[in-house]
């Protein structure tokens, strides 16, 4: 089987601190990491490879040249090879343009059986790029997959999470799935794969290599535009409920009642 996993490099929010005055998240000086959901996507691909050893897993990422680090990280987990999509023409792409670029790259890789993305990126939080790629490529789509139950070369049995519970599907390939946390913890890099990642030469593809139309990428290809960014109002100080537990509990219940919350 031939699998492409899409990964994104994002700021590491776990390093961020909350500003004690404005309660906003301080983002400066934060390292870049692989989007956590994309690590689950890589894990899903590698679970399939464990079952079907002939499987080849290629990771792709659209981003600045530094995003190479994210691709090396997933190679160290066991991904076979990687391609970086990087060009100033890609900058400013919204989800429509991004899904177009990734779909063009997947076309270029050719004969891909399965495309795997994370459920969403933790910086943008849109969950739109995976479904967008599926739409560009006219592929069947199942989102928020939290388990691969059966693996055959031309079909998967999968478990997807929704608000109502877990949905089970037979998914014929080729197809696209997005992956949630239930897939299982992403595996640790092995020594062998780490050394492979260090030596890996990651090709960089620009619009030329993927035959992308310039009108459809970057800012030009992005119908949405951000017109304003602002900090939301935040609540005031925390009120400490004093006393021994019985008094604390009664006081708390009383306040919630007065505020018509309960």
């Amino acid at each position: 089987m031939k699998i492409v996993v899409c990964v994104k490099q994002v700021p590491d929010i776990s390093q961020a601190k909350v500003d004690p005055e404005t309660y906003t998240i301080i983002r400066t000086g934060v390292d870049a990491v692989v989007n956590p959901f994309d690590l689950y996507a890589v894990e899903a691909a590698l679970q399939i490879k464990d079952n079907l050893p002939q499987t080849k897993v290629t990771a792709i990422s659209m981003g600045p040249p530094q995003a190479e680090a994210a691709l090396k990280e997933v190679i160290s987990m066991g991904v076979d090879d990687a391609i970086l999509l990087s060009s100033k023409h890609f900058a400013g792409s919204d989800t429509l343009a991004t899904s177009y670029v990734l779909s063009k790259a997947i076309n270029q890789i050719k004969d891909v059986d399965l495309i795997i993305t994370g459920r969403q990126a933790i910086d943008g939080d849109t969950a739109q790029v995976g479904p967008g790629i599926a739409a560009h490529l006219n592929l069947p789509l199942v989102t928020d997959v939290n388990g691969i139950v059966e693996i055959k070369p031309d079909e998967l049995k999968i478990k997807a999470m929704t608000e109502e519970g877990y949905l089970y599907y037979f998914l014929p390939l080729p197809a696209l799935i997005s992956i949630g946390k239930g897939i299982g913890e992403p595996r640790m890099p092995s020594l062998r794969n780490k050394s492979r990642a260090r030596k890996a030469i990651i090709p960089v593809w620009t619009p030329e290599e993927i035959d992308a139309e310039y009108q459809k990428i970057g800012l030009k290809g992005s119908p949405t535009q951000v017109v304003k960014i602002f900090t939301p109002e935040v609540g005031g100080e925390v009120l400490f409920i004093e006393g021994e537990p019985p008094q604390q509990a009664e006081r708390m219940v009383e306040i919630l009642g007065q505020r018509h919350i309960i």
């Binding site: 599907y169 197809a175 708390m252 219940v253």
Partner: protein, 399 residues
Amino acid sequence: MSIKVVIDRCVSCGVCVKECPVAAIAMNEENLPEINLDKCTLCGICIDKCPTGAIVRTHQAQKAQEDYDQYRGIMVVAEREDGEIARVTYELLGKATRLSTHLKQPVTAVHLGPATDQEVRELIASGADRVIIVENEELNIPLVGVRARALHDLVVDELPEIILAGSTSQGRPLLSKLAVKFQTGLTADCTGLDVEMPDRHLLQTRPAWGGSIMATILTAHNRPQMATVRPRVMRRLKPDYNRKGEVIRIKTRPENVEDPVKFIELIKESTSKVRLDNADIIVSGGRGIKSPDNFTLIEKLANLLNGAVGSSRPPVDDGWIDHAHQVGQTGRTVAPKLYVAVGISGAIQHLVGMQSSECIVAINKDQEAPILKVADYAIIGDLFKVVPEMIKALEKRQQ
């Protein structure tokens, strides 16, 4: 859309360099600001802050949609949950009705799959001027491809200027597929919607970075304008059963309902009565509850409050509770009326998933716990003493 510095107006004050949230602006050798377009997100902060108006947006010619004016009206995509029309659908109708007072255009509810007369009445009473029911039974099956094809045909017929759906596991992929087919803009998880007249632009406001900043987004040159909207944020109208509406029952083409994906079954999550996504009240447990058995304490409190059970990441990772209950970055983002955090210290990954809640109560032994930064009320003490007392106090109140 792009951005540039008008050199004649620049006084080299450096304010833009300081204000840029993504460090995309730097002074060059001539002490003039240069904007790195690879980093720039076009947020516009520098435009607002520049004291001399030297930074401007440049509008590059975008493919003008000649039929731009043909697109009229607001379409709300209904969804079902647990065998009935989901609450988010009524919330969307409430919002759409308010937007329509500016746009002077009807609100159309689209229901993919059969709907009863009672349900249609409810949609009209809640703000729909027109209800289109696509009656094919197959649309009841949770297959996004089938729903997307049926909706696509309807949008081609109707040409709405705005399409709204819930920011849910159904709504997000559905509109994502549609946005690509129509090559138009889609904004996820909006918490605010407004229209800008006379351009009829939909101003879509959404949280970024777990709600620590908000962004307002619009789709200037493409139609339809599409957004998914976070459940429980918009207000539904008080139903008015005297409202009149047009009811249209149609069927989609048979080839639209054929799909290569085979749905097998739905296994409902049974560990809690109320689910996170539409709960008014959530009680969450963290590492502080010490053992999986102690989740019964959390459940008891949640049940008394008619709320849902949530969890921070550690109990999920340790297998104490299913991942469906996880609140936070790799779980669900929630914003209930009341969020009770029991024994949760408040790692930033948890805070981004719940800090938009209206009222936050933290029960924690540590007075320095980060959760207190976002909490409205803090009960400092032993949760194994405080929670049973809370249960007692609530039982007393309910008698």
